[in-house]
Symmetry: C2
Subunit: 199 residues, 2 copies
């Protein structure tokens, strides 16, 4: 059998390293890219490399930025006294898509995980505490994921922040909108019952 | 709402142009790429662009090549008198994976399609006829797809080649190995019956 050409094999190997792209998809993508005009491939490659190169972390909140501060930290109107704490920048993007939150963020870049040896010093908790020294901050919203590490991280931060006299809140757990009770796991259902409100 | 950063938006837009990558997958991939070390992204981008740049068409058969001739046309041992005609280079790759065919290929780069205005002059039929002037060629295997255009193309080439006194064959249609008769369409089943052999 003729070997796959080296440039194609290299392309496939690189594409197959991306998440949710297996060997077969990588092959299909590689053949598609080879059939594209060279100029278009140049644009694609440059969007990836130059894009990656242009992105750094906001010096204030840790979100993605192209300068020292991210768009949100630069925006005076976003300083409403609320800081929403999340695990990583894609959580910021998710909450921003909701178009409802008017405060700023703090990105931890991880969650506490004794199993993986990630302690408080390994995520951006110290930077959060420094930001909370600003008197204009009134509320810290803990929006880490509703999993074991996310809950542990939220509890840890709540214990640190509460003594400072700030309002500390946690996003609600419950039944996702549009979902079916029948297929909701028991822990989520229990949390939904526990968090019920008068109508 | 804060706008998505321009470098990320550009990355998403470029990725979403690839086949079977929708907006959501493109977002997920873009965020993954941003979280990759810059060196790794450089390797990925370079594999795509340099890979595309390195690939050209074999001057003999039309398959992908890095030089004037592809690996298969360069290989003396592959000159066994058989030429397998396919639509495009990925069909060559598919047949090569079978590790069973010992001849050379001819890639048409398309199939006849009156609907799309693709006539015999638009695909590499003339180049095939030139190759068939070589006396060492004994058999032309038509391995275009078993669809309307593929069949029409195979018939057209068969009519041209047969008068030259060469053996012209068509790959068998039938029930795919490992498939279920119950779910096989009637036309395939009819072809499988028609092509039955004594055991």
């Amino acid at each position: 059998m003729a070997q796959q050409l080296e440039p194609i094999a290299r392309m496939v190997a690189q594409l197959a390293r991306l998440p949710s792209i297996g060997q077969k998809s990588a092959q299909r993508l590689a053949y598609h890219i080879i059939s594209m005009p060279l100029e278009d491939v140049k644009e694609l490659a440059s969007a990836l490399y130059q894009g990656r190169k242009a992105i750094r972390y906001c010096q204030c909140c840790g979100n993605y930025a192209t300068g020292d501060l991210c768009n949100i930290c630069q925006d005076e109107n976003r300083r409403n006294g609320q800081i929403c704490v999340v695990r990583d920048p894609r959580d910021v993007a998710a909450i921003e898509r909701m178009r409802d939150f008017g405060g700023t963020y703090h990105v931890l870049h991880g969650t506490l995980s004794p199993m993986e040896g990630i302690g408080p010093g390994d995520i951006r908790i110290k930077e959060l505490m420094v930001r909370l020294e600003d008197d204009s901050i009134k509320e810290v919203i803990l929006a880490t994921n509703p999993d074991i590490e996310g809950e542990a991280t939220a509890s840890y931060i709540a214990r640190l922040v509460k003594p400072m006299g700030l309002l500390v809140t946690r996003i609600a757990h419950g039944v996702p909108v549009g979902s079916d009770l029948e297929y909701t796991d028991e822990i989520t259902l229990a949390k939904a019952m526990e968090g019920r409100r008068e109508m």
